[in-house]
């Protein structure tokens, strides 16, 4: 209800604010002998025009109060970081405190610029302004959370060092251990994508085959049902023993973790295709090949993507465990390595990198899905 109701209410505003105009609109309508069917749209057109004529005078400048709040929040973070001395941490002082504070103030300055830009609506920054308006609450809240984090760790020591580190100290990890961290991230992504690619390809093929062929279904389905629920991580020790390298073993296990949900959902997708689609295609002379690749698979793709999302999630688990257990590089390895040196700050740094990588990969998959399943727009939302 609400959308249409608001839309109806909007053009009515100027009429209420300036009665003179309202009368001039209503008058011809009431006095004329013209049939109301043609009069009504005319009246509404005039009222919209009146609204449009008013808006540049009133609406050109609208101060963006939430923008001001973001500036305040980031200034607060900078001020507290700089002005409040760090609590003694039992060893040398946290590094990069001053740099962090200055960076926060710089961000505050940038946000101040955008607040002004969004308020006076600078034309060529329209896109950035819209983005800023949309994100302002989050920008403000994240600064407050960072402030709280900084206070609880560096400023008061309520969360004791070395297990807890302030956000400012993370800079040290990224500046000081840049090479090792980047190398680990690169190796993790490489290993992950290799395993996921194999798993998705094999799982998809198996799933479609089971869904299509009764013979394949008879032989492969029980195996899938029996072995599928086994967590791939349970196979880690054996896999490291059987495979020539820990890399190959990890690729296999990641592929297994990805492949299982992809296979199950591809299968259910193909098995659930509306049988009438096959009838339609068959009466038009479609071959079996056409039925599989042009009917069954496209119809099953939405399900396949659900499987891919599940498989991706499972693959992250296996990747990190495999790297913690045997692979001599990657972010999982970095975590155990940092733990061994009690370098907790590095662990936080690696965890943040991990989060960024994994969520980016999932976002990427969402983008691919939206491209491939563009026809679903307006049918399904998930």
């Amino acid at each position: 209800m609400s959308v249409s109701a608001t839309l109806e209410r909007l053009p009515a505003e100027p009429r209420q604010e300036s009665p003179g105009q309202g009368i001039s609109i209503l008058n011809p309508h009431g006095a004329s002998s013209a049939p109301s069917a043609s009069g009504a749209p005319q009246a509404s057109r005039i009222s919209v025009a009146a609204h449009a004529a008013n808006s540049p005078l009133e609406g050109r400048f609208r101060f963006h109060w939430f923008g001001l709040l973001t500036v305040a929040a980031w200034s607060l973070l900078g001020a507290i970081t700089l002005a409040w001395p760090n609590a003694p941490a039992g060893f040398e002082d946290w590094v990069y405190t001053a740099e962090f504070g200055i960076a926060a103030l710089a961000v505050a300055a940038l946000l101040a610029f955008f607040t002004i830009s969004a308020s006076i609506r600078i034309g060529f920054l329209q896109g950035a302004n819209a983005l800023f308006r949309h994100g302002a609450p989050w920008i403000a809240v994240s600064a407050l959370l960072l402030t709280l984090w900084e206070i609880l760790t560096a400023k008061t020591g309520a969360l004791p060092p070395p297990f807890f580190a302030p956000p400012s100290s993370l800079i040290e990890v990224y500046v000081g251990d840049y090479a090792r961290l980047a190398d680990s991230a690169y190796n993790s992504v490489k290993l992950l994508l290799e395993g996921v690619a194999w798993g998705a390809a094999v799982g998809f093929t198996i799933g479609v085959s089971i869904g299509w062929s009764r013979t394949v279904n008879y032989w492969v389905h029980p195996i899938l049902r029996f072995l599928g629920p086994l967590p791939p991580t349970a196979l880690l020790p054996i896999a490291f023993f059987f495979f020539p390298s820990s890399h190959a073993a990890s690729v296999f296990l990641i592929a297994l973790a990805t492949g299982f949900p992809v296979a199950i959902l591809s299968w259910s997708g193909v098995a659930g295709v509306n049988k009438a689609y096959y009838d339609v295609a068959r009466t038009m002379g479609a071959s079996e090949c056409f039925l599989i690749f042009r009917v069954a698979i496209p119809a099953a793709l939405p399900q396949v993507f659900v499987g891919l999302f599940m498989g991706f999630g499972a693959s992250f688990v296996v990747l990190i465990v495999a790297e913690m257990m045997g692979v001599k590089s990657g972010l999982g390895w970095y975590l155990t390595w940092a733990q061994g040196y009690a370098a907790y700050v590095n662990m936080y740094g690696a965890l943040i990198v991990m989060t960024i990588i994994f969520s980016s990969l999932i976002s990427l998959l969402f983008t691919v899905r939206d491209r491939v399943l563009v026809w679903q727009k307006g049918i399904v939302k998930w």
Binding site: A276, D279, V280, A281, T283, M284, F290, P298, W375, I379
Partner: protein, 272 residues
């Protein structure tokens, strides 16, 4: 028979020479069909004999669930008949063929394809899409959907979707169009409109038509011959020739009296 006037035209005379090329003769001889149901055999069709002349428009009318749609599936070649023979121009029908296209009650457009790609389906399945792209545009023009070529099926109204399904059938230049209650799910206004369009498509293209419908008026408005089936297992009760010129008028008194007769044959005469 009421409505069968002095000169009952022979089916061959109905069609022009040009149209005869594009139309098939369908012969259904002594066809019986049944399914294996959990509690024994389910007989659906019994000794059905039916002849469709090239270019003829035949409507099959009967109580719901009597097996008319099954007969259509057999004629389309989607299933083999349990007994009897079905032939197209003398050759037995053993499997589906693009010369006999079915339009179902549901448009069954592929939701992942645009309207254009849906219409192109048959040509693509026959591997001739590249050479024959123009036929897709022509088919869309025939049903008035050329401006919706890039739309997806979920963006179409029920009537537009069924039009797209018709275009998808017409693009194959079928010699027999098999219509399984194609207008059954449309609202009544759209149905009336599309009935007129079906007639003009049939007249322009000259193919034979086999139409299953529940709607007595629709059958009489469209078809040259109405075949009435009994309840399951379906047998042919009678055939009624509708010898009226096209375009027909719904208030044509001949059609009204024919409707009376048809309803009588269906056992619904008293309600009139």
């Amino acid at each position: 028979m009421v409505g069968a006037t002095a000169k009952k035209p022979l089916p061959e005379e109905n069609t022009t020479n040009a149209a005869a090329h594009a139309a098939s003769r369908i012969r259904v001889e002594q066809v019986s069909h049944g399914f294996d149901a959990p509690d024994g055999r389910l007989d659906v069709l019994e000794d059905v004999d039916l002849d469709v002349a090239p270019g003829e428009f035949v409507a099959l009318l009967g109580p719901s669930g009597c097996g008319k749609s099954t007969l259509l599936r057999l004629v389309a070649g989607l299933e083999p008949a349990s007994a009897g023979a079905i032939s197209q121009d003398g050759a037995p029908i053993t499997r589906p063929d693009p010369s006999r296209i079915v339009v179902f009650q549901d448009p069954t457009l592929f939701p992942w394809r645009t309207v254009w790609d849906n219409v192109a389906l048959g040509l693509q399945a026959q591997n001739i899409l590249k050479q024959e792209k123009g036929r897709v545009d022509a088919a869309l023009r025939k049903v008035g959907l050329e401006s919706f070529a890039k739309a997806y099926p979920h963006q179409l109204s029920g009537g537009m979707a069924q039009r797209a399904a018709l275009a998808r059938a017409l693009v194959n230049n079928p010699k027999l169009l098999i219509l399984d209650e194609p207008l059954g799910k449309l609202d009544s206004l759209t149905r009336l409109e599309m009935q007129g369009e079906l007639v003009s498509l049939w007249q322009k293209n000259g193919f034979s038509v086999l139409l299953v419908t529940h709607d007595v008026e629709e059958a009489l408005f469209l078809a040259q011959r109405v075949v009435i089936f009994s309840p399951r297992p379906a047998k042919i009760v009678t055939e009624i020739a509708v010898d009226r010129p096209y375009p027909r008028h719904r208030d044509d008194p001949v059609l009204t009296s024919l409707r009376h007769e048809v309803l009588n044959r269906l056992g619904l005469g008293k309600s009139w």
